[in-house]
């Protein structure tokens, strides 16, 4: 028997997140394609800006979050691409899974993948750009809240374009402008955490938290009609 209410949504989310992470573990798309892409872009920026280490140092937070956003688009495409294959979306609609449960499960799986990616990228930035990572607590706050926002917005728009022809090109067009506030806030917060800006950092975390909460709520509410129209 299925559990109803909030417990049911949480159970559904756990089931979907487990399935998505298992899919990633089996296919290794993140490990063999998304991560190498992200590392390559980090490396290319280093080559492009290396003659002027000062510019590279100043731009590091922005470059880091740009790479995270591009990688997130790939991860969202993969996450919803598998649901579009073999009419799996129909099976999801026929299952007893609640739409908010499916949405939150996919967001949770995206978050786990993005956090892992961000951790590896941070090490790469430290190595290639010579960045000293400091302000760990603030950095963790920025990273976590930014990741919630990216995954929640990605989950919402991934559901929107899941069955649209040309979704691979449409998704970045829709998602990247929407994530501009995350890029700005996360970059500013990271600059403060790395000591490049003397201003307060936690307000940026608050702003990122609000963005994440808004998209988590919107996605959970809208996912049922999105699933219907997909």
């Amino acid at each position: 028997m299925r559990t109803e209410g909030v417990r049911g949504v949480v159970a559904d989310a756990a089931l979907v997140a487990g399935k998505d992470l298992r899919l990633e573990r089996r296919s290794k798309v993140g490990l063999s394609q998304v991560l190498p892409f992200a590392l390559l872009v980090i490396l290319l920026f280093a080559f492009a800006l290396d003659p002027d280490r000062r510019v590279l140092g100043a731009a590091t937070p922005g470059l880091y979050w740009m790479v995270v956003l591009f990688s997130a688009v790939l991860a969202v495409q993969r996450s919803f691409g598998v649901e579009g294959e073999d009419d799996v979306l129909d099976a999801l609609r026929l299952s007893g899974l609640s739409a908010p449960g499916i949405f939150l499960g996919k967001v949770a799986a995206l978050m786990v993948q993005l956090l892992a990616l961000e951790f590896v990228l941070a090490i790469a930035v430290a190595v290639f750009y010579g960045t000293e990572i400091s302000g760990i607590l603030l950095l963790a706050g920025v990273t976590t809240t930014a990741t919630v926002g990216i995954a929640a917005a990605g989950g919402t728009y991934g559901g929107l374009v899941a069955r649209i022809r040309g979704r691979d090109t449409l998704l970045p067009l829709l998602l990247l402008p929407l994530l501009a506030p995350v890029l700005i806030s996360a970059t500013r917060g990271t600059e403060v955490a790395l000591g490049r800006d003397a201003g307060p950092g936690w307000p940026w975390v608050g702003l990122l938290g609000i963005f994440g909460a808004v998209y988590l709520t919107l996605g959970a509410l809208l996912f049922r009609p999105l699933l219907e129209d997909a």
């Binding site: 028997m1 299925r2 559904d12 089931l15 399935k19 298992r22 899919l23 089996r26 296919s27 598998v82 294959e85 073999d86 009419d87 799996v88 129909d90 099976a91 999801l92 609609r93 026929l94 299952s95 007893g96 899974l97 219907e228």
Partner: protein, 240 residues
């Protein structure tokens, strides 16, 4: 199963659109609990749309459409978790193993992992295949795994689109057995098939669909209503 005497499927002048095209153009159909009903008709007749409309996946825009007591015109989502649909697609994740797929879909529909394993055994999916990724299976094996996912959820209404397609002789026998078993416990089966000889031996009655409407319903013949199909037999049987 269902305590009411209302037909499991009750359609009157039901119209369903695919885009702007009326794939169902005024369907009248009643299917009682425990019946196994065969849908036959030429390609593009509306059989798949009829099955998908009964599953609540295609909106019925006008007419009367009640399935398992739910009004599909008002809310087509309520019926979904009570039906099992086997379509042309297998609804499986290529990168997950057979057992992971069946386990996920079983639990998603409120059944247990044990139900999923039992369904795989019932469908004759060899245990050596359970840990293989679905993408490495043959079309027939995928079909069996897909059917196992449907069986595990113990639907009240089975909606099967070409259930014998891609299966070997043993697999076809298993499918026939499943349909008979489902009917024997009070579930209802509506299935489309082009394998008429086999399908008619399993079905309690046959309904001919063409041009998005029911052309012949042999329950009507049983009641002395004259057959009046607008297409000839040659056209109707000229399938695949």
């Amino acid at each position: 199963m269902r305590p009411t005497l209302e037909p499991v499927i009750h359609l009157r002048s039901a119209v369903a659109l695919i885009g702007r095209f009326p794939a169902l153009a005024g369907v009248d159909l009643d299917v009682e609990s425990g019946e196994v009903v065969l849908l036959r008709g030429p390609n593009g007749a509306g059989k798949t749309t009829l099955l998908r409309a009964c599953a609540g996946l295609v909106p019925v825009v006008s007419g009367v459409a009640r399935v398992l007591g739910s009004d599909l015109v008002a809310d087509r989502s309520a019926v979904r978790r009570r039906v099992g649909l086997l379509g042309h697609a297998t609804h499986l994740y290529d990168d997950l193993s057979v057992s992971e797929n069946v386990d996920f879909w079983s639990r998603a529909s409120g059944a247990t992992s044990a139900d999923g394993r039992a369904a795989l055994d019932r469908l004759g999916v060899a245990s050596r295949l359970h840990e293989l990724p679905v993408r490495s299976l043959s079309a027939g094996q995928r079909r069996r795994v897909s059917l196992a996912s449907v069986l595990a959820r113990r639907p009240e209404l089975w909606l099967l689109d070409e259930p014998h397609a891609g299966l070997d002789a043993a697999g076809r026998d298993v499918v026939d057995g499943l349909m008979a078993e489902a009917a024997s416990v009070g579930a209802t089966v509506l299935f489309a098939s082009h394998e008429l000889e086999r399908a008619e031996s399993v079905a309690h009655r046959t309904v001919v669909v063409a041009g998005g409407v029911i052309q012949v319903d042999d329950s009507a013949l049983e009641h002395g209503i004259p057959e009046n199909p607008s297409r000839s037999d040659t056209e109707v049987s000229d399938e695949d």
